[in-house]
Subunit: 345 residues, 4 copies
């Protein structure tokens, strides 16, 4: 059995604790937080877990094989690096780090020590996104666009813009869905509170192919929307995460192209566009809680010396895009090259 300590018991930590307390392959050893009140709360619910505000103590404990980090982003790097250097496997909240430089160093350290470095890209473990991947792999045809709207009246954050808070979900989903990596990003947005980061933003991702990806994130919307359109040459998908059961709808719709016989010789590329409409279907989805699946996979990777789907490299790619988007945002949407291919030797 793998011993795991949770560091950070704020917004997301309780979900890690609840799941780790229930999956049979893991043993929840410690919960570590600086807030004594939070620690008492966890102790009341989970009397057998050890509570502490001392990270060193946790990292020294030989029963601890891995730590799960759910602290603010700015602290991820330091805690994760300390854990890796203590020989512990690491499961860290998204975004993995605050800079790509930090991310690169974590990836290298984990590789050097042959430790598992997993990033909590939760959405890619949902039944909905896994089904999308199936369709993308087999049936969608060439992907034409990925368009996501993720807006609501949300908690304004003071240290990071809405991109780091919300677009990170789409970036992790895209990283999982696609075999192709984006080459550049641009972002526009606005802060409507003086001195605070942007609360509305629009991201464009550019690819070498004809794929275009666009993400709209907004903390100041009157309604909650979580809707992604994916257009392909053979099928199109609408993914609405707020639908209770039919989250994924697959449309047998699109265009068909054929040479225009009348124009041969004239314009080489002239084509006839036809329209195709067919049935829609909403496949049944696996309703397992994403975090449960994800933590079991993390444990399994430790046991079998394997890499998780969202490994350090995935976490780093997402951080690099967030970083470049933030740069672009400050320059009214200047296109920023990503250089993802060069990131990891």
């Amino acid at each position: 059995m793998i011993g795991i300590a949770v560091v950070g018991y704020g917004y997301w930590g309780p979900n890690l604790v609840r799941n780790l307390a229930e999956i049979p392959e893991a043993r929840l050893t410690h919960v570590c937080d600086l807030d004594k009140g939070r620690l008492r709360a966890v102790q009341a619910r989970y009397p057998t877990v050890q509570i502490t505000d001392n990270l060193e103590e946790v990292l020294r404990d030989p029963r601890v094989d891995a730590i799960a980090i759910a602290t603010p982003v700015s602290t991820h790097f330091k805690i994760a690096m300390q854990a890796l250097m203590s020989g512990k496997h690491v499961f860290v909240e998204k975004p993995m780090t605050a800079t790509s430089e930090e991310g690169r160093r974590l990836v290298e350290e984990a590789a050097r020590r042959n430790l598992v470095l997993a990033v909590d890209h939760t959405f890619i473990h949902t039944g909905a996104v896994r089904k999308m991947r199936e369709i993308v792999d087999d049936g969608l045809g060439e992907m034409y666009y990925y368009d996501s709207v993720r807006v609501n009246l949300g908690l304004f954050q003071h240290d990071v813009s809405v991109i780091w808070d919300l677009a990170v979900h789409d970036l992790s989903i895209l990283d999982y869905l696609l075999r192709e990596r984006p080459v550049a990003v641009s972002a526009t947005g606005m802060s409507h509170v003086l001195g605070e980061p942007e609360n509305i933003a629009y991201l464009n991702l550019f690819f070498e192919s004809r794929l275009i990806a666009h993400i709209h994130v907004n903390w100041l919307a009157p309604v909650k929307v979580r809707r992604t359109l994916v257009g392909g040459s053979s099928k199109m998908i609408v993914y609405d995460d707020l639908e209770p059961s039919e989250k994924i709808k697959v449309y047998d719709k699109g265009i068909t192209l054929s040479d225009n016989p009348r124009n041969e010789g004239e314009r080489v590329y002239d084509m006839l566009v036809g329209y195709r409409t067919g049935d829609m279907y909403a496949p049944q989805l696996d309703m397992t809680e994403a975090l449960t699946r994800e933590l079991r996979q993390f444990v399994s990777c430790i046991e079998h010396d394997e890499q998780p789907i969202a490994d350090g490299a995935a976490g780093l790619r997402v951080v690099r895009i967030l970083e470049a988007a933030t740069q672009s945002l400050a320059q009214r949407g200047r296109v920023v090259d990503l250089g993802l291919a060069r990131m990891i030797a």
Copy 2:
């Protein structure tokens, strides 16, 4: 009674004809089209109207006070200019012209001859958009953003991109809603059919204020969406044009800002963000057909020597933005200044 001839009896022309045949202030004199079959069709339905494929004949006829143009965009300028030079008032489909230079010349010609030049920005005459204008003028507070999604599986056009076909609606609505004019535009997009114009595009409009406007248009979407979010400091609006009756929903939601007393002296701009939620209401809307209202207004402007809401200057501003967006689209979203203030002397 004002005599009006319709030029162009293709997709939109029949709506002009039907409305002109019914409003009591106008007399539909001619329908002019190059296609004999179309002319026979209109004759069968409206036996008293004169049909012709000869524009000169129409423009010479003294019973004709005005012409309504519903031909392809590329021909608008030539026909409208000819009409103005024949002393006829002009009602022209949107977009008004194919270039801002053409637009400028029409505006000047109409002004010189003291003729009415009206552009068919249909949406601004709907009950929904007129109600939005009321709320924007009185209740919304500072406008923070305008975000519109206008997508469906639509007819691919061969001469103009999806921007000219669909974003033109939002640009005309914005021109009507706002007192402020955009200063710059950027656009990204993609064509998924070799040799054809872009079928998906994203526009950003930049303003001197903190307003940000964004428009998503797409001919290749599996579902039809016509949804606009408008965020203000006091109220927020969701405008869903596909709703049969409750097209406009007004949310008494948003953020409240107050100085953070604990941080005085430290960070000048630090503010406490609070959240405000209240009732939503869907005001009853005037359901008069927009085109009817618009054509009656056009006739009334001719009779009383007044300017229509969507006059040549409005048409020109919209064309200028379309033109600049097209430039930007070709350069992966480079920001293009609009210079709207300098356009008309």
Copy 3:
């Protein structure tokens, strides 16, 4: 070519006229109405059609093979009977007659003279209802229930209750979908306007099998709903007629029954109920206008001496149920036997 005269140019007549003017197999000969203003309106649109307020004149005309009746229900019998006795085929609005006795006499007269008697059960010619029939015939399994809600803020009628106005649609759909006929009906409802017929009603249809059908109709609802749930042992259907394209959704959901091994010998019928959930799909539907399809079929029946899907017997069954439901309504839902089997010798 079959010559057809339309009698009655009020609410529905214009749809008959428009369709008959366009289908190539028929020739619209006359429009007959008592209102001179209505006749002038039709003449203006269709200059070649003959207008008259004299039904005898129409029935004497040898160019008239059939008449289509769109007058108030109370007049259907008299006009249809006169037409049949003049040797004309008849297409009559639903409900076919005001009483089952009238209906029975029309059916007999048409049979005796070997004339086509068709009832305008429009919905059964829509792509949606035809697709439902396909699924009911092949895939639904045993039909467990049919539950329809048909409510809106509708025009109160003064001569008939909401049952005759709205439930008639569901009764005609059920008559088409099922091979089994209901054996009894009960209805409850209420009038909220003194001296007027019921504006809200609930109908139950009883069958010899375990099928139960229920229809809710209401002229005084704040929202428009047109939604039918059909439950079967293998599949379930949601038919929402207000959906623009996905009107029919088929759910691979339900219960599975198996003998409970633990209880053998004890309770004979004890069974284990299991639950089955699977994909949902929305089949593509034929979007041909129902009335076009229906009128072409009527013409074809005349030409080939065949019976239409909604023949006089179908019309009579629907009228009989309406009549019995009206009786029940007056007695707080007393169950009224239908005796459909005995209706037609």
Copy 4:
């Protein structure tokens, strides 16, 4: 502080325990259940609570002021009676008892001993239903109809029909909303599993006024629906419990009645029906968990010797309607008089 023991830790018991552990006015003393595994589960989460499978032990304990019963319906009477006879206040799950005779005896016993007898009609403590009551009291006008649809693919129960499981919610809501009591009930329905109770049912409630209430409940529906339409002479309400925030929509719509001047002297009651449409609004709702509010009210009633909103008499009225509906169901909808006025001396 009021000491409360929870009896029954199955489906609903955990919600009682969680709430009682958190409200400051109460002290959760025991959890009593026959299942040892369930008791161990509660002990692990709430180490300070006393667990037991012996009800007598609980009722003897002087620290216990009241018990909350969440056992199967068939056991409610016996446990509640025992508790009352031990001088304990009682909070019991809905439906209060299995028969109205049982209910009557509980009500009498509680009155005789001056103990609080509260029934867990949870819905009437939600923000949505409380807002409806406000509107019904002030603004709706005369209530014309209450129409509820409560269907989904639900757990088939073996001891009670879908009426006892689902319609009980609407009956408790109606009991709370109305000042008028129903005089009779009828119900139709069907069992689709041999030997099991009805899984689909339709209830009609009759009143002395023109109000009509109708409830559709179904365990075998492909989609989940929780939608109630309430029509009044001044306003109409749509209550959709599945909407995340806008559960209540109030429509300023309806009919207006005026004397028909043309018909005076002819038909006394002839009236002109006019139509009125106006704004819709969705009032903000209190989002407090209903059960929290309800349990605090129960404690407050004990402390101040007051009666809860849903007292034993309310519980009894609901049970009486369920009982009469069950009778009617067995006789194809025969109207059964309720005699609610005579129930409690």
